[in-house]
Amino acid sequence: MKNLCFHLNRKFWITMAMLLSFVLPSAAQKITVTGHVADEQGEDLIGASILEKGTSNGAAADLDGNFTISVPSNAVLVVSYVGYDPMEVPVNGQTHLNIVMKQNATTLAETVVIGYGSVKKSDATGSVAVIQPDDVEAGLATSVQDMLVGQTPGVVVTTAGGPSGSAEIRIRGGASLSASNDPLIVLDGVPLSNDTPLGMGSPLSMINPESIESMTILKDASATAIYGSRASNGVIIITTKKGRAGKPQVTFTANFYIDHARKLNDVLDAGQFTNLITEKFGAESAAAGYLGSESIDWQKEIFRTSFSSDYSLSVAGTLGKVPYRVQGSFTNNNGIMKKSSMNRATLGLTLTPKFFDDHLSITANAKGYYVRNNWAQTGAIGQAVSYNPTIPIRTNEPIVGGDTNGAFQYLFNGYNEPYTIADGQVNLENNATYNPVATISQYKNYSNVWRSNGNLQIDYSFHFLPELHANLNLGYDVTKGDDYYIVDANSHMAWKDHNNYGGGYQNHQYQFRSNTLLEFYLNYKKEFEAASQMLDVTAGYTWSRDYADGWNDGSSSEAGMATTPGLSPAIVGPDGFILNYNPDRNLAGKPFKADQNDESGNYHWANHLQLLSFFGRVNYGLLDRYLLTATVRGDATSRFSKNNRWGVFPAVALAWRIDQEPFMQRAQGVLSDLKLRLGWGETGQQAVGGYYNYLATYTPAQPGSFYTNGVGGWYIPYFPDGYNPDLKWETTATWNVGLDFGFMNNRINGSIEWYLRDTRDLLSDVVVLAGASTVSKLPQNIGKMRNYGVEFNINAKPIVTNDFTWTLSYNVGWNHNEITDLGGKTFEVGGGFGGTGGNCMIQKEGYPAYSFNLYQQIYDAQGNPIEGAYVDQNADGVIDAKDRVIRHSKDPKVTMTFGSNFRWKKWDLSFALRASIGNYIYASALRSGSSLDGLFRNNQLSNVLDTDFYFNTNQNESDYWLRDASFLRCDNITLGYTFDNLINDHLNLRIFAGVQNPFVITKYKGLDPEESSGVDGNNYPRATTWSLGIVATF
């Protein structure tokens, strides 16, 4: 890691030095001009930037607002200051200038998109964060979730390693135990379903970062309550770019990426492994007989350095009277695991015409996406960690007398696999680890997904009462996907799944999802200037229907599919053995997973969900400083029975703009914003389990689980599904107190917030009382949970001069989570021990959700753990469940981000750091890779991790595996250069280079400390991405 940084620094400075000498302008003959910059109130504007137009010659106003600059006497000065309209001042030979700047109108009127409308930022009463990505940020991010990372306190984004871009987003830690903790995502007014469509990552991964105008994150209940039932975990409102007036603007971006795994598992190399085996078993042992002379790094064989690219082109303008924006993009993202890739093409069109003197505005959005994913078989990662490093990848052991078509010419298609030969048969070892290279090269899994979403929003402001708007929004989101996998004949997978005859097989899944939405609301908004009052009332209704169906064409039958033609029933091997291929296994006439259209329709599935809501909101402002928001929403879901169907979610918020008070006038030069906010609200949650969990339903069994009818036929057993008629809304009540502040015209700004969040009737898929249901787990309303925390963020521009701007942002969030009531029950969760069950975490009253529950390891004098020795907490002489200790939780206590951006002339350099403190991990991969009992079994040697200590057997329940996974990660470092006004002002060009995820500082010894489940299995390693990008606007 240190090396990496060193290289980066050196390269960076050399490059800087070279480019500086190239860019620096030459000096010319000038006169000296002095001046003073102030605003309309007469306040000095410290640090205002003064630039000679068309050059990079500039100066900055000092503490008294004065400046001095040498310019030609006919020069034009460009004066700029954050939050003010830039001015052009001709010198005309004057030697002293008094410049008065006007406050920027758009800053004053800056609005924030909130649910069903928008408010002036200064009038917002809730906890709302706005992300308006500039070209830099948009160009850097490979996905929308990347743009969310570290933007605002309390928002934790954990991205997965693969190329398809799934990510888990948690706003203030999530309110639920095991119902969905995903925030609601509203794209251009259409809430997206959180059900992941087949073959896709999160819904965000579909959206091209470049097309984003703004994202609003609603964090507290007073802001989210307008979305009621789906808003317990916060709301992310995404607005895409629209058409613009004037001549068409074309933007082209291209990005190129090189990815490699930041870190791989540290396993024993061939030499170390050979030593271990001979030391443990003896040089003459049976085990040592399995040692080879090769030296293979199996992880290197399945991972790669990959090259990816994406391109996007957009045109925005006005055609006739219709503003439009068209955008297309293409992404080719290759994963660091061989054979994994994602190709995506998108096309989007937005029209925003207005009619009848702007009384009627229409927004029409339509987007289309095509995604093709190639999935690597990730099971190969675990195999690569433990596969014997001393044996070759391929043996190419030919089978004498192989059939004439060349099929089965090599056993296992030539790959080295664990098998035995006896009595004329080849037997693949049943429970062994298989060749990882064979796994990824002989398993093909791909999906094709088509998706379209869009909406038509009609907003009409009444001719007789322009303050009254009627808004109708019709939205849709449709996805169709196919997923295929094919397993090669004669591969170890085929041999294993088809019981040692090696027939290949394939599978095809199809899925269709649709989501339709109708929303209608009326909005009345008026400012009564005489009385200094503002009123904004909204009332509306939404109707939303989700539908999905699909089928699985499981030709994963015993008969299989001979992907290699001409399989021969008897192939004699070199030792005279016969491949145990049996051609008579096609179970003629029996529907063993062969027919997906059998009478019971077992291989079709479908579901649907109806949501209905009525909502209303009042915003009231008095004297521009006292603000009130009251919201109520009634929500109904088809997931619950008639009695529990409706939930009502109210919210109230107050805000006080202290800076507008007369007594604050004296501070106004320094203080630009001071607002106190107080909010309370309730939100709901219904997304848990299946679609009909309150109804008694019955599922017919599939073939293989039939029972004889006694006369040669079969009964199809009807399984009574588990159901819970009492299922009802989970409700979260949130208190929020916030203080927004801004100094020196918001050159320093930030906010501090405190929140308390109580969730009751927690929806959780937990163990049922034994005997109360046919299943062992069911969604239930089980208890109460409390979150409270403090968030602080600050943005500052310590240096603003003509040539140099330094922007800093820092945010920190602290969250405390505790289960406050489970009716005395506890629930073990999280798994982690592998094999036959067992859970490393527990949900218990008085502890944070997902606390670890393990034995306390005893250590010897050298500090090594003593195998099987644990602290007998209750001193009863036996180590049992009562001796487990509950401590630490998977979730971080504190999250922080720190970002910095330097702009020097046309250069910019930025970096972002992110820290997580107090998150713990059960190191499951480390556990299984640090025990010696699997070294030799199934006639096979298996590798272990290169680690400090080895147990003889897996010590599952030891807290030795509970590790502090606090970390500091560098999310990105970027250097860019902008060429303004090329080709007669017709072209703006920006070029940048960056690196994402270059280093992580952590004590944690596993692959990556960032693991949202708290159990670190064999995960896809996160990549380090080197990128080069270009943005051209003309």
Partner: protein
């Protein structure tokens, strides 16, 4: 202003829509996989679920399970019954140090053992399936439904019997308490309830004397009642040997005249555990020899499970090289299950030296090489490397592959031989999943129960007890024995020889005070993971603990003493 007009109309329509749309919330399931009680096959298929709940781990084939968080195969009903009743005894061990299983093998389990939790939920889940059937049919008075209900009640009683046997106190709920939280019932009260259920069904003849193949009838219900009475002392503190014997008499009387020496036993012992055994099931083709009184039917294609006979056959078939799996009808061998030395010692002499056929398929002792009965070579292996979880070597038991269940078919003569092809290859199907059925209670067991009642309860005639033991022995080709067998030890050894791998051993040992506590025999490997010679097992381990997860979710439940 046409546009405005349309807009107003549109708004009005939307407004109307609001009120009518509330009805949209009553969504009926649209999943074609779901059925409801109106389905014409609802009743028959729901009853079939009560059987499939014992046979299969889930409803989507052998990889599925409705017990969460536990491997479907490991948590299959019959496999759990096998694991919890065989591996902790002196009959056999599971040689892999698999999580949870090792503690059962070494008798070192605790309340957080995953398999015990799996068993508790598996059994109670099956009870819930039966309860749901009984709830859905409670108003149907027709004779056919009444008989189906009786079957469901017997199957439910079987699960409650297992709860009582394994855990003592149990969660309790019936179709009548639907919707209420299950309560904890004491072992003695549950005993009374199971007894009343079975007595009602048997004495009122609510169930068929000639059931359809694969289902349970009067014999099965009464045999379960006899087994209940046999263990009456343990379950309720009440000696019920006389009642047990009476029930055995009823069953034996119904089988008089057929089978081996007119006893109703099958002529050939091995066929009872092979593909042939379908004929001996209730409702099976061979009415004269339908020795299996209560059994569960399997099919290699349609009724698949990693529990049941598939599990027993695959795991007893030894490591690849030496026991050709196809010779036993299985296309997989798991090499997991080995007989204990104590088990081997019950059959004196090598296979060829004894006439007792019950160890014919065994690979006994640690010997360099030998041959099985089909002339295939076999060998004992060193399994010491498999036992790294246990200090010291369990190697000595490694050689005892005790095969009992197979997928073989009988030869044409049905004289006890097998259907080998002329070229020496197997004449039976070789499949991944077994079609062999699983006997749960056999008539031979009933004869031995009768004899044990005499020995332990001093009821019935001495000669008859001896005759019944010798009947069972003669059928297996073993010579008659004298009064030596009419001792506690003698009857226990005979039961083990006859019923090994049939999931009765732990119950038998507990009943006779031989499992845990002061009178226990010391067996190798048992009592401690680190002491191969074995140590005494604490008396409280005669019962398994109530799983911690159950206590966690029902804080009012009491743990069994000692845990």
């Amino acid at each position: 202003m046409n546009f405005k007009k349309y807009l107003m109309i549109g708004a009005a329509v939307a407004g109307l829509g609001m009120t009518s749309c509330v009805g949209d919330l009553d969504l009926k399931p649209n999943d074609p996989n779901l059925v409801d009680t109106s389905d014409p096959n609802f009743k028959a298929n729901s009853l079939a679920m009560c059987y499939a709940g014992i046979a299969c781990s889930g409803i989507s084939g052998p990889g599925s399970s409705y017990v969460a968080d536990l491997d479907p195969g490991t948590s299959a009903y019959l496999r759990l019954m096998f694991t919890l009743n065989e591996f902790c005894t002196d009959e056999c061990v599971w040689i892999w140090p698999d999580a949870g299983v090792s503690d059962i093998v070494a008798c070192t389990w605790g309340a957080n053992n995953g398999l015990l939790q799996g068993a508790y939920y598996r059994l109670m889940g099956h009870i819930a399936v039966c309860n749901q059937f009984l709830l859905n049919t409670k108003d149907d008075t027709d004779a056919e439904t009444q008989e189906m209900r009786a079957e469901a009640r017997v199957l439910r009683a079987y699960s409650y019997y297992n709860m009582m046997d394994l855990f003592g106190a149990s969660s309790f709920c019936t179709e009548e308490t639907n919707g209420q939280d299950p309560t904890q019932i004491s072992r003695a009260d549950l005993y009374k309830w199971v007894e009343s259920e079975l007595k009602d069904i048997v004495d009122n003849k609510l169930i068929s004397e000639n059931p359809v193949y694969g289902r349970v009838g009067l014999d099965g219900a009464e045999a379960l009642l006899a087994r209940l009475y046999l263990n009456g002392q343990v379950f309720s503190g009440e000696n019920r040997y006389a009642d047990c014997q009476k029930r055995c008499d009823n069953i034996i009387a119904r089988h008089q005249g057929g089978g081996f020496e007119g006893s109703g036993l099958a002529e050939h012992w091995h066929y009872l555990f092979s593909l042939e055994n379908k004929n001996y099931m209730p409702g099976g083709a061979n009415k004269a020899e339908n020795e299996i009184l209560f059994g569960i039917a399997f099919d290699a294609d349609m009724t698949q499970s990693y529990g049941g006979p598939t599990f027993i056959i695959s795991s007893t078939i030894s490591n690849t090289h030496y026991i050709p799996r196809q010779n036993y009808g299985s296309s997989s061998e798991w090499s997991c299950l080995r007989g204990c030395a104590e088990m081997a010692a019950r059959f004196p002499g090598a296979p060829e030296e004894t006439q007792d056929v019950r160890d014919d398929l065994w690979f006994k002792g640690v010997m360099p090489a030998g041959k099985d009965e089909a002339g295939n070579k076999w060998d004992a292996e060193d399994y010491s490397d498999r036992f790294v979880g246990f200090t010291g070597a369990w190697a000595t038991c490694g050689g005892n592959a005790i095969i009992k269940f197979t997928g073989r078919t009988a030869n044409a003569a049905k004289d006890g031989g097998w259907n080998w092809n002329a070229d020496g290859t197997p004449g039976w199907p070789v499949t991944t999943f077994s079609s062999t059925d699983q006997p749960i209670i056999r008539l031979a067991d009933v004869y031995l129960m009768w004899a044990e009642c005499y020995v332990n309860g001093q009821v019935g005639e001495r000669q008859k007890a001896l005759d019944y033991i010798n009947l069972v022995r003669r059928r297996a080709g073993a010579p008659n024995t004298d009064s030596q067998s009419l001792t506690k030890q003698g009857i226990m050894d005979e039961r083990s020889r006859e019923l090994y791998l049939e999931s009765t051993r732990r119950t038998d040992l507990v009943r006779n005070g031989m499992f845990a506590g002061p009178t226990q025999t010391i067996w190798q490997y048992k009592g401690s993971i680190s002491n191969n010679a074995g140590t005494r097992i604490a008396a409280h381990m005669n019962l398994y603990p109530i799983p911690q997860a159950v206590l966690n979710s029902q804080p009012g439940f009491k743990q069994n003493p000692g845990y």
